[in-house]
Symmetry: C2
Subunit: 334 residues, 2 copies
Amino acid sequence: MNLQKPSIVLTGDRPTGPLHLGHFVGSLRSRLDLQEKYKQYVMIADVQALTDNFANPDKVINNIYQVATDYLSVGIDPAKTTIFVQSKITQLAELTVYLMNMVNLGRLERNPTVKQEIKQRGFEKEVPVGFLCYPISQTSDITAFKADIVPVGQDQIAILEQSNEIIRRFNRTYNKEVLKEIKPFLSQVPKLVGIDGKSKASKSENNAIFLSDSPQLVKQKVYSMYTDPDHIKISDPGKVEGNVVFAYLDAFYLDKEEVKSLKAHYRKGGLGDSSLKSLLTQTLEEFLEPIRQKRAEITMNYVKDVLIQGTSRAQKVAQDTLNEVKGAMGINYW
Amino acid sequence: MNLQKPSIVLTGDRPTGPLHLGHFVGSLRSRLDLQEKYKQYVMIADVQALTDNFANPDKVINNIYQVATDYLSVGIDPAKTTIFVQSKITQLAELTVYLMNMVNLGRLERNPTVKQEIKQRGFEKEVPVGFLCYPISQTSDITAFKADIVPVGQDQIAILEQSNEIIRRFNRTYNKEVLKEIKPFLSQVPKLVGIDGKSKASKSENNAIFLSDSPQLVKQKVYSMYTDPDHIKISDPGKVEGNVVFAYLDAFYLDKEEVKSLKAHYRKGGLGDSSLKSLLTQTLEEFLEPIRQKRAEITMNYVKDVLIQGTSRAQKVAQDTLNEVKGAMGINYW
């Protein structure tokens, strides 16, 4: 008899902006699938977002409800997925403090992902300690829910390796298998490029189509998409590689064979950017319209209820883990 | 009308061993005085003790009740002083996490006190992050109780300066005077030397007389005290400086004039070590016997009650502060 427990998924977002099509392709789509198979926790990571937005908390605060509404509008189902707000789970901070004893400064500084992120933010030696320690805090988030599946991109593998080191060291130190090792669940889908074709879609690059954009704005963004600058006349042969319109058709047009033949046509010449953009606009509208309709029915009170209930469920689970953690350490005095 | 609030004292000990005469001279005596004048919180700092004893938690765990009993036996009065256990105040971990955003790694590494402590422990680059961050955690402990008086030795001044930097940065960042700046309250009394005369009395140096030592053990320790190795015959002139017996008489013999004349006599010659040691034994017995009697009346259940009640009071105060902190940051979503 196999009594192995079912897998538990932990994932989430830093609430620093509304979610966009890149989030859908990169994570939301997969969460819709995961919530059918596993116990799934989705964390709105305000504490983590504050580690590099501490001086601008409004950016974080204003996006808590926004991100939660985005989740609900795409079909994340609070009956299947526990959606919660990180800062409300005080047990995560507690666990972080104990895990901070399990990692040395040198090891933290050598983490290649964090190293790069520090550089990107221009932090270098003046890195806020909270930011430097976010891999520890993340280990706490994951282990508090005994999650063994954590969907990540390739760039986050180094963080999870560090998490597993911390987990093994904790279990070894206190001689008990309290914390569960993590399996990275590599996202199969490539990152969605921004409408400028320069980098991945993101709020900060101002090159994303948001799930909450109006039809007018979506159309406008599609028509400003980078295509092939050498494709001047409709009859010219066009380049498909690096052409943002095709990247979006690849991600959202359901008939993959049709996309193949469109690409062939475009390469040969005779297919204009404007007909392609019209097709993409229509495709995105078919995708976005039901999301928009769902959003229109969601009240702020409902979102609040979902968050309160999810958070309360998450608190109980995290408290159980904390009790085990403190038990293993022997610091449950009464 | 002066509506200034009364001062609040925060102090405490890392529970890594029973308390000894050095603790009495350095802090307990002053706490007996402070509890009459101010609101006093005394923290049993298990979380902090774990930052460099994480691999040996028993050392910490076994001393929680021991330290609490030491407090009660010398007259720390739970009706006047709130005695609590750090790990039970989860709000402290929460606040620590937010304060970690207020200090840069470079600044933390430059803290001269921490630098020295890292060296003492042989941690160097392999310093556990938890230990490196203890000044942040300490800032959280102090500010959570809005303490403005923190009794410290000279060596802790740099830590409090860093705390005040963190406090000012927090208040400036969130544009509200939430956290209170700290006044160091410098201990007037010099540190008590160990019985070996080499360094200050401490458990790790195995040169301390514990408050819970038996009369026999006290006598034995007094008779092994370092005096003046050149004072061979009673009639020889003796040295008072560096003579441990005089250091303890200075600290515990009530008639200071009498000590002065004993010193003169010893310097001149004609006063034997053994009469002096007999006098010190008697002096310490007069001091320790009432403490021992009080200890004998204290039950484990009473200590537990004191800790539970103190901790519960402390939790309420810390939660109030946390609510203000989160309010200032704007992250009190519901």
